[in-house]
Amino acid sequence: MIYFDNASTTRMSDEAFEYMCSFIKENYANPSSLHSFGFEAEKELDKARKAVAAVIGSDAEEIYFTSGGTEANNTAVLGAASAYGRLGRRVITSSIEHPSVADSFKELEKRGFEVITLGVDEKGYIDTDELLNAVNEDTILVSIMCVNNEFGTVQDIEKIYSAVKGKNRNCIFHTDCVQAFCKHDISCRNADIITMSAHKINASKGVGAMYIKKGVRVNNLHFGGGQEKGFRPGTENTYAIASMGRAAELALENMADNFKHVGEVRKTLLSITDELDNVYVNGDAENGSPYILNLSFENVKGEVLLHALESEGIYAATGAACSSRTKEKKKIVDRLNDGRGKSAVRFSFSAENTVEEAERTVECLKRLVPQLRRFVPR
């Protein structure tokens, strides 16, 4: 099996899995319990918090665990808007955000905010000048994702952050780093709020994290027993959080090597554009994230190619798994190049993939695509 769908989710690494299992067996206590057994569990949470903080260079106290990336993004957008809504009514985002951000902005629109959605160029970059024009005194929140989940374009978050703050230093800047966390170099210096997820970095599903800069206010969306300093109540998913901590430690150690390695895998797969005619890269072929390669094979429907690859034991995606259950016809990829969306296939990598796997995939594509191209919609 060749698993090229790591942007949807990853296999849990053996280390993270074993760490989580030993924790499940040995300490099932509630970290809020006052006895020493509970205290042991609490220490484990702190350890994970430090590991996550280390990746982005923040203080551990600035990290809050959530139930996942979606909840983190919902909370970032809705919570910040609710905290700062009295100071201004304009909020800004991009047209290529994950649904958990995009739909939160739709919700803000319903609540009476003025939502500005920035378009992107054909490689998926936002225009910083356009952003600067949009930021005014009334702007309280800007949310721009770091690595796009469908085609892997990497925004220059450092430049965007300083531009936003230069224009209005009170404006809060959030960046969705679910696809960037532990893969790209991201720093807490370049954002007020950063959102992350565990299952994209070879850890467990069901847990995510938020970085919230000291002094930045985000209103909580949940109410209850005071966990996570009252910001995210509910008994912590200690096992999954432990796995996230362990995975973050490992990823931080190997970040540069992994980056280089998946870059080789991606480059190998990218050679298909030389082998076959009319194959297009969606996003930025040269400078996109090495973890994601989105290709459109003209005249081949993405889902058909996906199923054909599947019969060869190769697993890819037609777009974000999160969008495949909605009936919306247009994909995010269509925002770059209209019409490309229906023939788009996303390959996404992890350090566990090999160059040989990419080579085999190229061979399969060389065989399958011409076969499928015999039959095009008429």
């Binding site: 889902e303 058909v304 190619l305 199923h307 019969s311 009936k327 015999r374 039959f375 919609p377 008429r378």
Partner: protein, 398 residues
């Protein structure tokens, strides 16, 4: 006179089956089939037995308490059952016994009163000393005096308290409507072409409801159709199996046939030729499993391939009668049935249908049979590809 409550009473479920009762010499066959089905469905639960009782069936539990919550939904799903009535059977038919038991039954079902009611007595045993009306008046009066807030309404009562005097006496008040129709498997067999859409499961259900045993046939075209689309059909067939007590699903690998038609046909005629090929394939499967007809979900003029002209061009592809139970129904009427039988939610699962390469942008709405047939005759190897597809068909018992 002294009688002892409970000793000569037991809980029962009365099963009514309407239409069967009007049959002539075949009646016992149909009744036996229904009894057999009920016994089979209740097999996993201990102690249930089924008796014939003058034009209706009686389910009793001879070992344990009658578990209505489990048994009623199972029996309601059985085709041929028009209604079920939870009630009690009494061996002591004296008027005192009837009164007391009627009261017990009424209390159990309407403990707070607050309803209008009337008593209806059916006296099959004409030797009974009182007339039906006398029994009704006596029992009704007794219940009325012993439960608060009751009123009598002989024209439109909330509750009809039924007292039936046969070999034993039966008392019941609730009538829960079932599927109706005829017992499954008493009207021959047919093969239904199932797509995963809303219509075909409904037509399968309607035909099965007339007592026809059904087998289903699905045309799978990987990689153009997905594993999830196939699972959808499997789930739909499983839902139908709740009514039929099991169903056989034939999964036909159809990619090669579709591609051959694609290559040899003008796009606007593709759908018609495809549907003809499907009928031919389904006919082969139907003949081998003893079916006497094919069933489709066509509804006149719903889409291009269901116009009268299209039906005229498609239908002659097979020698078997093609039943189209939805042909005169509106979409909303079909959806209403799909909702009722629980197939709608499965049919509308949002899996992208990636089969679009086989659907033209502008399909012909008035195809000519002769032209279609002449194009078809020029498609090379179509028959052998169909035979191959039939040979490689995967069979699932659901």
């Amino acid at each position: 006179m002294i009688f002892i409550m409970g000793e000569n009473m037991r809980n029962i479920l009365l099963v009514k089956y309407g239409e069967i009762a009007t049959r002539g010499k075949n009646r016992y066959l149909i009744e036996n089939r229904l009894i057999w089905t009920i016994i089979k469905r209740l097999e996993p639960y201990e102690g249930y037995r089924v008796y014939k009782e003058q034009g209706r069936l009686l389910i009793v539990n001879e070992k344990k308490d009658f578990d209505y919550e489990t048994v009623i939904p199972i029996v309601l799903n059985i085709l041929g059952v028009t209604a079920v009535c939870p009630g009690i059977e009494i061996t002591d038919q004296s008027i005192e016994s009837l009164r007391e038991h009627a009261l017990v039954h009424f209390r159990e079902h309407y403990p707070n009163g607050g309803v209008s009611f009337k008593v209806i007595t059916k006296r099959a045993d004409k030797r009974y000393p009182l007339t039906g009306n006398e029994v009704s008046a006596d029992v009704g009066g007794y219940v009325l005096h012993n439960i608060p807030n009751l009123t009598v309404d002989v024209h439109a009562p909330d509750v009809k308290l039924m007292v039936e005097l046969r070999n034993n006496a039966y008392i019941y008040s609730r009538v829960i409507m079932g599927q109706g129709g005829l017992p499954y498997g008493t009207s021959g067999k047919a093969t239904v072409l199932m797509s995963g859409g809303i219509d075909s499961p409904v037509s399968a259900y309607l035909v099965a409801k007339r007592g026809v045993e059904i087998e289903a046939c699905y045309f799978d075209s990987p990689p153009y159709t997905s594993e999830r689309a196939k699972q959808k059909v499997i789930d739909l067939a499983s839902r139908l199996a709740d009514f039929t007590g099991g169903i056989r699903l034939h999964i036909v690998p159809f990619t090669e046939v579709q591609l051959r038609i694609y290559e040899s046909t003008p796009p606007e005629k593709m759908t018609i030729l495809l549907k003809r090929a499907m009928l031919k394939t389904a006919e082969k499967i139907a003949r081998s499993n003893g079916s006497m007809a094919l069933v489709t979900g066509d509804s006149i003029a719903q889409v291009a391939s269901q116009t009268m002209e299209a039906i005229n061009a498609i239908d002659p592809a097979s020698d078997m009668p093609v039943l189209r139970p939805l042909c005169a129904m509106d979409k909303q009427e079909i959806i209403d049935i799909a909702l009722k039988i629980g197939t709608y939610d499965i049919s509308v699962r949002p899996y992208e249908d990636c089969c679009t390469i086989f659907v033209a942008k502008h399909p012909e709405t008035k195809p000519k049979r002769s032209i279609i047939e002449s194009i078809e005759s020029k498609i090379s190897d179509l028959d052998s590809l169909i035979d191959e597809a039939v040979q490689n068909t995967e069979i699932m018992e659901l």
